[in-house]
Symmetry: C2
Subunit: 371 residues, 2 copies
């Protein structure tokens, strides 16, 4: 059902900032306001008045029923849908010269869609809606934390499956298949980023995929899981070695673990993101890995796999101050040493007033324990 209190909060901020409406084009904010998902989410929340949903004719009845929203426009083609939005904008313009329309500028908004919208709407100035939405979405409510916890439990099931599956002689893709399947069977609704199994030289990649590379004895393997549950994500990453780790593996692993622990210890309300980074970096420096530190040790997570603060993408987010009920990951970038490979450990945390609670609970051990 539609969440009126969230809409009210967004509208208050829009009025303060002189934004006439928010044009929703992405799943995360659609779910945030309307509590359900469409494959192609399209809605307009005006600064004042009722939200308008633009949907395909075949979905209209269902949308009306499940949301209780009166004003549902229907469309018969993507071209028509843009025209519907144009019509809504014209209806809103009144005696103004221009409308200021907020749009989310993140991974889910393709550049071409924004271009098409701007061309079709010469009366519109498009602005980034982050100034409205970041404030709302950074702090999670009780139900959101429950959903993230649910996603985290699914990630743990995925990681247990990975541990059982991992061995020399199979491909990265074989491992991804088992992990993906286990997470779906555990009730997961797919993944927010592809299951990532990076072995050997590929463990040193900044990000990952799962390829046909055969996992070999002595390989470092980085596994990163971001399952979804009802739109919400949790992030769990572990690194294992196939067989006995060598001294370099152990040194890198212990460094990462120590850096992650140090960062978690200062993950408290009132701390700035850059302070968390400084603490993690100092551990790298003490252990002789300073040159390999990639800034942005953690990020917020929720309806998006990475949301504000997301300092690896927006370095300016380093100035954001943590507060109660934020959900943050710690352990985002890989410690990658050319010639050896990479190590990463990432977990998701709920920041409370006096303590930080792990949402993803899984042992951190470099050696595989198949039992």
């Amino acid at each position: 059902m539609i969440n009126k209190s969230r809409i009210k909060k967004a509208q208050d901020r829009m009025k303060q900032q002189g934004i006439d409406a928010y044009l929703i084009l992405t799943h995360d904010d659609y779910i945030y306001f309307f509590g359900e998902d469409r494959y192609q989410p399209r809605a307009v929340i005006p600064a004042q008045g009722m939200p308008i949903i633009v949907t395909f004719s075949g979905e209209e009845e269902e949308v009306r029923k499940s949301l209780g929203v009166e004003d549902v426009r229907i469309f018969g083609s993507v071209g028509q849908q843009i025209k519907d939005v144009v019509q809504i904008m014209r209806g809103m313009v009144g005696d103004k010269d221009k409308l200021k329309i907020g749009v989310q500028m993140w991974f889910g908004t393709p550049a071409f869609l924004l271009n098409m919208f701007q061309k079709a709407n010469p009366i519109v100035d498009v602005v980034d809606i982050a100034s409205v939405m970041d404030d709302l979405r950074m702090v999670k409510d009780e139900n959101e934390i429950k959903l993230i916890q649910h996603a985290a439990d699914i990630a743990v099931i995925g990681m247990k499956t990975a541990v059982k599956t991992l061995k020399a002689g199979i491909t990265e893709n074989d491992v991804a298949a088992e992990v993906e399947y286990a997470m779906r069977k555990a009730g997961g609704h797919g993944v927010a980023t592809p299951v990532y199994v990076n072995s050997g030289i590929r463990s040193g990649w900044l990000h990952g995929t799962a390829s046909d590379k055969i996992i070999e004895h002595g390989d470092l393997v980085v596994l990163d899981l971001v399952p979804r549950y009802k739109g919400y994500c949790a992030n769990l990453c572990r690194t294992f070695v196939i067989g006995k780790p060598n001294n370099k593996h152990i040194d890198m692993y212990e460094t990462y673990k120590e850096a992650q622990s140090a960062a978690i210890n200062v993950l408290r309300p009132g701390k700035k993101i850059r302070e968390i980074d400084a603490v993690a970096k100092s551990v790298y420096t003490e252990n002789g890995y300073e040159e390999f530190y990639v800034a942005g040790i953690g990020h917020s997570i929720g309806l998006s796999f990475e949301e504000t603060p997301a300092p690896t993408i927006h370095p300016g987010d380093s100035g954001i101050t943590l507060c109660e009920n934020m959900v943050m990951t710690v352990g985002h970038p890989v410690l990658s040493v050319p010639g050896t490979g990479g190590v990463r450990l990432e977990d998701t945390f709920h920041i409370k007033s006096n303590e930080t609670i792990p949402i993803t609970e899984f042992p951190s051990e470099l050696e595989l324990n198949h039992n």
Copy 2:
């Protein structure tokens, strides 16, 4: 390995059009030119001279080795990566006032990345690289068709699994789990769009997902599969009814099948996309479904799940003329009748000079046959 002949063709077109360089930010064109994938593909192809790859320090050695490209820039943060690109642009500007830089404007290019790039590069005018790339990518070579065929074979394995799994009492997500797993085990590299299992009222959706909805007796179920193999996609969609179909189901199904067949019969070199649509629409009209026709009966497919011509997204693509060695799907939009649900059948075809060859081969039957 790097594909020099494709780079040469792109450079020739760039010179003709006065584009100084193509900044690659997406997987499809990165694979197209460099024959391998990175999680975060970043490269610059200047109109003249050697391509430049911008990659993370931990990936440098591997990239140099696998591609044989001399000029590999490295970066240590996303901020740094943008600076690297800025530096490349400055090095290219010479005595010009402005550089004209092509960027792909499609689903894989988020609006914010383009904004960041434009802000960081005031000397740059960004243009859509489609004018260069569409020409190249619309026509597939022999190896590309082999890879699409491989993806199609994986889709067929997925659909066989769906048929075996589908029954009343399980969730859409349960079906998706089995299908996804079967396609991975068959060597697929994940999916280009999420496995889509739309049942009952949800079968009438324009697009799909797989939800926790329980599949019920009498439901129409639309399954759409777009697996990837080495970057390449194939598209296979079928509709089944759980139990005995009623007359309305049969009428809609026969209409769709007839419309798809009619469209396939005119899928020949020299035909325009709008002619294919007209033929399909006339079948809807004859059967009393005209009001439910959604324009854009097919689209091109390859390294992207939907690429030019893609008339449901760009209505202007209806004017494109088909030619030999294009790979097109037929059966893209759903026939959705409010109150009943939806029906779709989509297949992928190789257009040859004198015939059109199905790449996805799977029977079209409304009733489930579990044997």
